[in-house]
Symmetry: D2
């Protein structure tokens, strides 16, 4: 395998992908593109690539893969250009905040006959994917109820949230993907509610910081998601599946296995602080999976259709929350 | 203290209360009443009481407390008779399956000036009540989100469920009480859904066996309850409260602290099998609390008004489930 | 069954046994004897017995069981008198601090043909006895290595320790019994060492507060015991058995299953504070076992020979510690 | 930093170091040397180095570091040659099975003025080193008792063990190093025993497979080590330190955080299978530490003197086991 890659975006998530791409055998990270020239140059140097413009990347026939880690509002354009240039795509979630535009992206990708994977990294987390395997193997019988807990260590500034599409599109998008992946079924009914309990400035930009969603699938399975922008104890990423013959519970990961006992109690580490720590291995594995599938022709674990489907659920949740009523799907 | 007690009901829950009453200093269990004479006689003998009719119990002026552990459909009559006879009441949940009748009970009790406690034993579970104390002390700041998991080890026969009032009134009534107690706030909005996944015969009697409820309180706090009639691994009774400064999670209790490690994995005991085991200590403590309050005049932790309030939530959930829409309260 | 019992000793452990005896069906606690008349009287009243002198108890032909919970230095005399009076004996550990006197007790008991059980309550702890059952069932194959951790929450006054026979006879006696019971094998080699790290006053009375013992059995099995008079986090009572096919680990018990997560970490309860809490259930079960065996004729789980055998190991450990060398048995 | 490195040994541990060296910024792995030419060539190719003879490596003046991961009996010669060639040394444990030869190595290294670090990777395990930091910070007061559990998933062939120096030198050498590191004190008294319980062929080559060691330090601290060549549930690597104000317990690491509950019980993953998995991060961190210290001039966390000191304890334990008596140090 010899894959030449251009990476778009040299921010936080771009740097993670750059390091993982650089370490993959058979993959050469050639270009790093970012409107902030210094960021592109410094990241490129670290990983033995070169800074380039988007045009250079798209016009270089040696490049056969683009990795999109740029801001959300650039995704659909870049997917369109990559489809036109017939380059395979690894794209960070979401496809686009607008479902119609996301659907158009999916269509252009299919028309171009290129491969496109969406970076729902949670499906590659060792704990989550082990649970999925057990479920698929029937270890707990048929899945019946899924409970997802999804909490960030702290809320971003309200100004950032203003352009995020709201909590359901920005944050729960991952949970909607987990719901579809774990239950292997599609939503038929959804009810969402929420409150602004963490930071009043979030209410001022029209968003909430604490949310609760319930979904019922076509097969009658139930899912409850509780999400918060703040967990004082760190990044809380868990889910539990009740099956007809048992339960699978995915716990948080922690930095060490030290237990301290003293006059105050018995103490363990807090969970890994945030997504960069918790999903470090998942980010590595998803990129490796992308190239394995490119090579073997096997389908991606997270296709662009999965990206569109999660987006639709985020839209439905937003609508349900706004009108205070359940939504049929 | 010298309290003379008549117990109504010699079934499963009646026998628990009998043993706890018999062991309480200052309390004398005098009568056991049950339409099945043999049950009454055999239980009475075990605890040093005598079998009696209801009339005997109500007419005996020495009796100042009645403990109602008879079938649900007898509760409101017995509460009425006790109020008329001016005897204090300890009554198993629920007050009555009909909210108007439950309200009438509450009124008659107040009019008679007698004390009446409803047996929501979970409020006396050592784990749950410790969490409540920490919350009240502010250990995790302000409560924001409550997630309740409530699963029975197995479903009762559909025939039993036919007269139960449905899963929300029969099973989630306890969870609605926990919701009110833990969040210390009243529901403003409720959405419920559910499925029949465990036993098709349950659908045939018009009920469901798997349910999901979301509540939002007046203060914007959120609560999600997931409940199932079946957990292959035993009685699953947990809740978690997210607060502004941390989390409190109440885990299951298990019979022993043995851990086995072998070629198959690392293994612990399943949770205590069912409510008789898990809440054994809670049943003991609630009855002790009842008499302490009688003596001191302090208010009960679970009043008849709490019983009525939980019943109203069960009604609202039933309605929400039936119409597929949220309900304002 | 109708057993009439006299209890000797109204101290801390005597009160526990009194409550458990009083609650046993078929058992009547008739007398409580204690040189401190007030203690005897107040305990007797609580449990519906009467205070009595030793002579009254021994001379009353209706009494067929004596329960010895008086100070250690009274045990051998009381066992002797009970044997002479042909009353069955439940005796707190140890039989006697002197092995020859303990042996003599065992002989007099056998000569008299009475039953005598020694109160090694740990064998009745639900966690420990479950581990023993699994071991006996072969769940982890053949036992090979036993590691015992045995720590008190705090050291008693050095003055008390002066008459205690030293840490090996006073504290590790229980661990020597666990060693024999769990491995089902006898010691062939023992090495003990220790230090005074907790309280210098303990060194001044010729004792140590921190000890480490290693035993090798006739069959080559190994056991390590680590013991301390002080654990800042409470009573630490654990053991682990490595077998040819796995491991069994017995953990501490804790008062509640509340987990708190906050900015400082993840916190659980400390272990139950001390033996009265941790072994509450064990004390109840051992007394019930005593009467069941009396009734059925089955052998006790902890015979007077077990008491003598543990005492011999305590002597050997004391000798090994003093001379700094291993001891063959 | 620009360090040119020659690696000796292309076996299991050599391959781990090669990958870690190749990924370190500022470090260039130039040569891989192994008597098995194919192994050297294939490993060299994987990491962008070249296969070379020892002579080539020692004679190349550009090489300033040698990493020794060859069989134990080559260590002292290679250390000698490196000292003569004035190249810094990273050497896998042990220095040498003979204490006098190990001492001679330490002297030649010091005489040559080169840096030499011994690969006791456990000191770099995130869990173990976090415990050490807490201890150093005084989080549990003064260390008093250390209990080490050290078990391999399965015994190697008895033929391999024949040349290993015996269980104390081959396996417990790591535990002796942990003992010195964690307690920060030197042994004054040691008693060892053991048995052959796993594989009779091990007894035939004069070794044991199950061992128990107790050490008392000059300061009176106690340490117990229990070790076995077989744990059916995987690699068991734990230790606990009791301090005057609490306990620190280092637990095993496990591949995922999935918990399964079913009719058989509650199940978690077994520990990481063996040292390559459990200490993967430790191997990475120790090599990074080596180069950081080279650069900064700070002392290594594990010096050649630590290697010699652990070897002396292994010798003492072997002697104690053989003679069945304690040894003063």
């Amino acid at each position: 395998m010899n894959r030449q890659v251009a990476l778009f975006g040299a921010g936080r998530i771009g740097r993670i992908h750059a390091a993982n791409l650089a370490a993959l055998p058979g993959v050469q990270l050639r270009y790093v593109c970012d409107p902030v020239a210094d960021s592109a140059a410094s990241l490129a140097q670290q990983v033995g690539a070169q800074a380039a413009t988007l045009d250079q990347a798209f016009e270089d026939p040696a490049i056969d893969v683009v990795a999109i880690a740029s801001p959300t509002d650039t995704h659909s354009d870049l997917i369109g250009r990559a489809a036109a240039a017939r380059k395979h795509i690894f794209c960070e979630k979401p496809v686009d905040l607008s479902v119609p535009r996301a659907v158009a992206c999916a269509e252009s990708v299919k028309a171009a006959g290129i491969a496109c994977m969406i970076g729902f990294q949670r499906r590659f987390d060792p704990t989550f994917s082990d649970a999925k395997q057990r479920l698929a193997r029937g270890d707990i019988g048929e899945a019946e109820v899924l409970v997802i807990t999804s909490r960030d260590p702290g809320a971003p500034p309200a100004q950032y949230l203003k352009g995020s599409g709201g909590i359901f599109r920005d944050m729960l998008i991952h949970d909607f993907d987990v719901f579809r992946w774990i239950l292997g079924d599609e939503a038929a009914w959804l009810s969402a509610t929420g409150s602004c309990l963490v930071d009043p400035a979030i209410a001022e930009v029209g968003d909430i910081d604490t949310a609760a969603v319930t979904l019922r699938t076509r097969g009658g399975r139930l899912c409850q998601i509780n999400a918060s922008r703040r967990a004082a104890y760190g990044y809380d990423q868990r889910f539990e599946v009740l099956g007809s013959r048992g339960l699978l519970a995915c716990g948080n990961h922690r930095p060490t296995e030290v237990m301290q006992m003293d006059a105050q109690g018995v103490h363990h580490d807090k969970p890994e602080h945030f997504f960069l720590q918790r999903y470090r291995e998942a980010y590595r594995l998803e990129v490796a999976h992308f190239f394995e599938c490119l090579q073997s022709g096997a389908p991606f674990r997270t296709s662009i259709d999965d990206g569109v489907a999660a987006q639709k659920l985020a839209d439905a949740a937003t609508e349900s929350w706004r009108c205070g009523q359940a939504v049929a799907l």
